[in-house]
Structure formats: structure tokens, C-alpha cells
């Protein structure tokens, strides 16, 4: 079967590294680290704080997109005259949906990556802060 048709090779087998496995191998260096690794109530609260911060950020930016793009069909239905406005010779809906929507989405995504990484930096800073 599998073992027969695989020739022996010198390279060491690859190992899968995940957070859970690493936890069993490395001893936590400080208090907050230990709280996280041992699932104490303090550690739990720290993680909950991070999850809440990241979720709040994602929801806020999703709201920006929902109001920015999601309101457009309603706007076009309520005020059909908006569709006849021309920007640079192109009707406004074509301009908004065909061109401007894409840089808008990328801009929101860029802001998210920036702020989400900042949230993680803050979390790391809390864990690694020197003991008082």
C-alpha cells in the first residue's frame, strides 16, 4: 500500500505546527501568558476582549459598506431622478457601480487590515507587559 510505493528519502518528515501543540511544549514566560495558556478566568477575559474588539471593528466597517452600497438600490427606487444625473458624461449609477464601488471596497478593506493589526498589537502588548 502506501508504505510500499514510497521510496525512503533523507529529508526529515514535515511536522505540523499549530498553537495548541506549541502550548504543550513551551512553558509560559510570565503571568498573563500563563493565564492564557491555562484558561484561567483572567485569560478568558483577555481573549473575550480581543474577540469583541475585532468583531466590533468588522461590524462597524460592514455598516459603512451596507450604508454606502446597500442603500443605493433603495435610493434609485425612491428617487429615480438620481439615475439621470451625469458625471463626466456618464450616468451616476453607472459611475457608482461600474467604477467607484471597487476603490471604495478596497479602501474599507485597507482600513480593516490596519486596525485589526493594531488590535492584535495592543493584545500582545497587554500579554507581554512587565509585571507590576
Amino acid at each position: 500500500m502506501a508504505a510500499d510505493d514510497e521510496t525512503p528519502r533523507p529529508a526529515p518528515p514535515r511536522t505540523r505546527v499549530v498553537l495548541g501543540e506549541a502550548a504543550t511544549r513551551r512553558l509560559p514566560a510570565d503571568r498573563a501568558h500563563a493565564d492564557l495558556a491555562e484558561q484561567t478566568s483572567v485569560g478568558e477575559a483577555l481573549v473575550k476582549g480581543l474577540v469583541r474588539a475585532q468583531l466590533a471593528l468588522a461590524l462597524r466597517l460592514a455598516l459603512v459598506v451596507v450604508t454606502g452600497l446597500g442603500a443605493l438600490p433603495l435610493l434609485f427606487a425612491v428617487a429615480p431622478r438620481v439615475g439621470e444625473v451625469k458625471v463626466l458624461g456618464v450616468n451616476l449609477p453607472w459611475m457608482l457601480l461600474g467604477v467607484l464601488a471597487f476603490p471604495f471596497l478596497v479602501g474599507v478593506g485597507w482600513a480593516y487590515v490596519r486596525w485589526a493589526e493594531r488590535n492584535e498589537q495592543d493584545f500582545i502588548a497587554v500579554i507581554r507587559r512587565p509585571e507590576q
Partner: protein, 540 residues
Amino acid sequence: MNPYVVPGLVLVVLVTVGIGAYGLRFARTTSDFLVASRSVSPSWNAAAISGEYLSAASFLGVAGLILRYGVDVLWYPVGFAAGYLALLLFVAAPLRRSGAFTLPDFCQVRLGSFRLRRLASVFVVFIGCLYLVPQLQGAGLTFTTVTGGSYEWGALLVGAVVTANVALGGMRAITFVQAFQYWLKLTALAVPVIFLILQWQSDGRPQVTPPGGATFRVATTVEIQQDALVGGVPVQAGQRLSYQAGDPVPPVSTVDAHFGADWLLPGGDGSLFATYSLILATFLGTMGLPHVLVRFYTNPDGAAARRTTLVVLALVGLFYLLPTLYGVLGRVYTPQLLMTGRTDAVVLLLPEAALGGGELGRLLGALVTAGALAAFLSTSSGLLTSVAGVVFTDVLKAGRHGSVRDFRVATLLAAIVPVTLSLYVSTMDVSRVVGLAFAVAASSFCPLLVLGIWWRRLTDLGAIAGVLAGGGAAMAAVLITVLGPPLHGWVAEFIEQPAAWTVPLAFLVMVTGSLLTSRRVPSDVGATMLRLHAPESLRI
């Protein structure tokens, strides 16, 4: 026939197989096959994800829809791109950190339920096939349009190349192939469009929506293939209608298309319900497509997954600026498609129609055809890899110790059904089926992923109930739309664009079910949450 097309197609296939073979030199372990050993850089990975994502529906279908329906269908490209923003905001980094490879793996990691895992496998295979069949079908139709060859050969050819490439090179090779195919697709649309716009300028900027409706620019003959009313006059199959330059394009009773203000201005006859349903399906469906998710495990860590997604969003957005131009210019140069209804061919036919049958027109025509082939190849490779991954782990039970040979067997098994299906169902509407795949993904995997990642109180029974209710309803709607009799009125709208009710249903059932079975919340949920959300640099 255009003499450059066949060499162009052969070149694309050769380069694809060549890069696949080159990648094979690096692919030795099963890990290489499945996740490219998680060592692909964000820029390669992003180009590969975009290459994989931009399918026949994006390359041909979007321009065809815009030619036909106008401003209302611009929501398709916007939604296809915005799906990556939803993925970035709610899923990308935690999913990578979960360390799972397929969606069923995620169910196992998060909820430890074997039943949920099996249910997820069923949905992955269903969505994979639903998405794979139209790709092969599109390949067959393009083959017929361009070379005049038979539909079956086109579908079989693409099926065989894709299966061989995935079985031989796995994910490692596919990454390079798909990165190449993204740039090929972008070039294949961007270069011709420059010449098309210059031609439009030199023709004196003919109006896209002349006050008298769309007109023929040159004398055109249309062959009637089925009985219909053309401009209110009955015609029979086999008849030929000739039009002079400047004649208005008559509406044909069997072809649904928009003219005049309906095309130019939003609203039209599509209701608000259908528009919002489409928005919901495309915004939330992308994160549930199996071939999109598989890609995220090839990132080295969560932060890289996030950056990769941002680059993908930019690359996909850049691409979607182009099909709109083809759809709009098609209104000027290929209005006969509005009579024949074969609007999906606008991208393939526009270069020669606008630039004439000279060398330049033919070369650019061959270029877009090569791009279309790349679109079929890359999306079907990605889909096949992900379906094969599920077959490998959940049907063959090969697990992490399975051999490369097992993966090849899984690939063959995964390819047989869609290829066979595509030979028999050549009449299904390509872009509609792809839209339905998004709806199924949005109402099954989107709630599972979003609640699984952000809500501690999700339980296995709640998740199963939600996926069965929302995903099952969407699946039923798909089967009725594809196989059932034609529907009318509000029932048709509810069934053909199901996302607006199936997605909320899935979320509602999943949340209620979890709250009712709150004793089944996994005891290790704290550890799982830590693993999903804590940055890798902590290495806790």
C-alpha cells in the same frame, strides 16, 4: 475561422501543463499537494486566488449580462468583489489560524461533531459540482462558437487537462498555474479594450443609447433558429433576416433584453427584492465557496491571510472594471446578439466586430479566447482540488497519512461526476447556475463560519439545524429552478433568487437551535477561541 485561435489555445494549455510540471518538481509530500506546505507568499497567493475566482461567469457572463440588461446587473461584479471584503472582515485570519484545510475540517476543529462534518462534506461536493458543471459547459460552448467543433470535445478537453493537472501537481503546482492565469485573464481583457476604445473614438464616438434605440452599425444578416416574434412580426425557423446599417434592432419575443431607458437607468422591471437577494447572495456567498476557502490554508499565518485577501480584493476589483466596457461597447458593435440571445459571446466576438476582420482584430480575438480558456481552466482546477480534498479526507478516509496516490484517486473520483453531467446538460443557463451556487453557499457555510468564529454559544445541533434549514431550502430552490417547470410571479422571484429569505432563515435557525441546546457547547470553546483569534507571534 480565425487562424490565430487554435495556436493561442494550444499555447495556453501547454503553458498550463508546463507550469504544472515545473511545480511538480517541488511537490513531494501530501502536504505539498494539499496546502503547498503553507509556504506561498501573499502576492503569489493573491494572484492565484484571483485567478481561481475569475471564472467563465466573470470573464464572459458579466459582459453578456450588461449587454443584455444594463445597469441593474452591475450588482454582479460589485457583489463578486464585495464578497472578498466580507471574507476579509469576518473570516480570513481566524479561519487560517484554525489550522483546518477544508470546511469539514473547520467543523471538526470548532465543534468536534462528526455528523456536522459529514453534512458539510455533502454541501462542499454539491456546491463544487454546481459550480464545476457550468465551467465545463462554458468551455464546450466557447469551443463550439470559436472553432465550430463539437460541444462534447470542448468540455472533455478542458475536463481532461484540469484533472491531469490537479492529479499530477496538486496545490503547489496549481498556485503557480493560477497566478499566471490571473495575469493572462487581465491582459486578455485589458489589451483589446484599449484598441476598442480607440476605435470607438475614431468612429466619432457613436452613441451607446441612441434616442431611437439600438441600431445596426453595418449590414447584418440574422438566421432564425426558432419560431418567434421579431418586432411584433412572426418569423419561422430557417428564415434569414437582413438589416441595413442604421436600421433599429427589433426586440425578439424569445429573448429577454432591455432597451432604451430600461437599460440605461436603474429599476427596470427587476424588483427591489431580486436586487437585494442578489446582493446578499454574492456578498455572503463568496466566503462559503469551497475552492475559495481552500486557498486560505496556504498562507503562512493569519496576518498574511488578511493581507492576501486585501490584495485579492484589489486584483478582482481591477479586473471587474473591464467587463462593463465590453458590455457597453457590445451595445454599439454587436447588437445582433440582442436578437440571437447569445450575449455570453460578446467578449469573444467584439474585437473582430469592432476592429474588422484584419490582422489586429483576429489577433485580439485570439487573445480573448485564450483568456476565456484560462478562465475555465483555473476555476475548474481550484474547484476540483477542493472537492478532491474532501473526497480524499472524508470519503477515502485517507487523513493526514494518506499517500499522494490516494489524492490522485480522489481527484479522478471527484472529476467523473461533473464531467459526465456537463456532457448531458448543455442547455442550462451558465450565469444563473453560478448565481445559485452563491446562494447555496451564502445560506449554508456563511452562517456556519461567521457564528463559528465569533459566537461562543454555537452548538453542533444548532449548526446542523441551521445548515439543513437554510442550505437545504436554497438547495431545493436550485433544483426547482434548474429541473422544474417555469414559474411566474412572486413565486418565481422567491425561488430564483432565494438568498434574501434563506440566509436569514439559516442564521435564525442556527442561533435558536444553539440557544435551545446550550448544554452542548463544547467544553474547549475557550481554547478554540484563543487559537482562532490570538496572533501567532504569541505562540501560546
